[in-house]
Symmetry: C2
């Protein structure tokens, strides 16, 4: 966590100082920016959960489509959602930004972009009670944001992907597909618009784009499931139901049946988007059939969508039941920007 | 720490599987790759040290100059050196690679580059008794490697930058300037050569380039200083003596005097390179004048190079004493690739 002042121009150093003023110590952060490492303190008997995610312009977001607040929010949400899926409480976040010179040097809107990126990130950080304990900035030919989340979870108590057993019920929090639906709407608008540096989005679309631009990681729901030992396996829906359920099946060595009519669709979402869309950041989990799961956890609806069955070689890992019959559900990701 | 298979081609998935086979669990790593987060276990009473460093082609290394083994080694060394400077023991490392398509897609030497990158990184990881607990790979227009190191240090016992007091002696481990000298040699060779995709370096230069291409982080020395409560402040020499000593002075609110003739010069290094070169990854520390510091710690020489004095407004933070007189030493970094 080091500046490299030798390689920085004065404008960049000034920006870095501004960024670092927005990071903080306190709570589990014993020491933030300003030394060789940050120092964090967990509670006795806790394990440390670590997740890192690299977000690159054109792959995970688009500078020309996503407002800077959304890039900041989504970067942090992606990391927090990994903690939520383990039932971990966040201790601290660290973000490394790489930005093209036009966004780093002043007088070209760069300071404004970075400030708005941090507005989006810190708003979610405050809401999630996590400190941004480190931030760094480099010039880079492509815009990118690498996020690191450190969390803590009572020893031996983390929600894993590997605990699902035949007979377990399968649940999701919230509704699915709305992120992909919002992205598809933006992509259609981009194809119909003249190419510009910044896609102009009609303000009336804000509610429909909200799930894509500002997804809510399910930290309280993950913590509830862990504290009540209610789930046998859990994962967050970052890649899409078909892929993420396949991860649980693979790690637990089981298969699954999903009832298509039971899947809660987000606003404007199709079944295909709910199955393969990704980036909803809801939780997918399994629970013993005799364990009562509330209809809502911390105000977010929870819906039963299927069950875990024994895996048999030659049979599909996931079967989708529709009113018209059943078919294998192949893990298939969303090609976000292609 | 998630794959995003939806956005990956089969060749990339295959590479990712190869990478993940080279990561491991064990020791403090309770759970490595394969879930939403890695899980680590510290000892009772320890704090968690976290450092992240983003390394970008053209800024922190050059694909055309540095062999892949060196890029892997240097990426990990940069993070380990931050832990060394706190006296922390490493728990686990995580690396996110972003690489241009030519290095990710097969048949173009990509698999070979990535494999050699990991050879370099894992060789240092083994030597340093740290597990690489997570690895990720994305396509990126520019080559980059983000490294995260997690360490542990007994509560309240970390070596900080802020504890230096007037009267303390100033020491460095090893010798300085050899990394900058090696880099200058490579840069001169590049200017004299025809531009190629890969700089051809005469094999006989290997020993002289070793400090630049394969620097050794001083984990054992940092741990010794912490365990013996021998240092009042410490930092690693990543940016160069003039900048890094200025960080100690700033954080400790003191000034410093350095004896130029006492500075141990690395092979082929000039005084300027030792003062401003950076990337030596030696430790710079202060100690009470009555605390005995051995001449070697774990076989590495330790040299006294100056003393901490009271800071007075208007006076230079650092004064350099030469046989011909004294002068203020301005913090000045090395412009690595410009």
């Amino acid at each position: 966590m080091r500046a490299a002042p030798g390689a920085r121009n004065p404008a960049e150093l000034d920006l870095l100082r501004q960024i670092r003023r927005r990071t903080r110590s306190g709570g589990p952060v014993i020491l933030g920016i300003g030394d060789d490492c940050a120092l964090l303190r967990a509670r006795p008997g806790e394990e440390i959960a670590v997740t890192t995610d690299l977000n690159i312009d054109g792959h995970h977001f688009r500078l020309s489509w996503h407002p800077p607040e959304s890039v900041g929010h989504r970067t942090l949400a992606r990391g927090l959602s990994d903690l939520a899926a383990m039932g971990a409480r966040p201790l601290a976040a660290f973000v490394s930004l790489g930005l093209p010179p036009t966004l780093v040097r002043p007088g070209q809107g760069g300071a404004s972009w970075i400030s708005r990126f941090y507005d989006g990130m810190l708003s979610l950080a405050d809401k999630s009670s996590v400190a941004l304990a480190g931030g760094d900035l480099s010039e880079s030919p492509v815009a990118l944001a690498d996020i690191v989340l450190i969390g803590a979870v009572p020893r031996g108590n983390a929600l894993l992907r590997s605990g699902a057993r035949p007979g377990d019920a399968i649940y999701v929090t919230g509704a699915l597909g709305a992120s992909a639906a919002g992205l598809a709407r933006m992509a259609g608008h981009a194809r119909a618009s003249k190419p510009t540096a910044r896609l102009r989005i009609p303000p009336s679309w804000a509610p429909l784009l909200q799930p894509h631009l500002f997804p809510q990681p399910r930290l309280r729901q993950g913590a509830w499931l862990r504290a009540h030992r209610a789930a046998t396996a859990a994962i967050d829906l970052s890649d899409g139901l078909s892929i993420d359920l396949a991860h649980i099946c693979e790690e637990s060595r089981v298969a699954a049946e999903i009832d298509a009519t039971a899947i809660p669709l987000g606003p404007g979402a199709t079944l295909e988007q709910a199955l393969h869309g990704g980036e909803d950041y809801e939780l997918l989990f399994s629970a013993r059939p005799d364990v009562p799961i509330p209809r809502r956890i911390a105000t977010v609806p929870v819906t039963r969508i299927g069950r875990i069955i024994r895996y048999r070689a030659g049979n599909p890992a996931i079967t989708l039941f529709m009113p018209t019959g059943s078919r294998p559900l192949q893990p298939r990701g969303w090609q976000h920007f292609t």
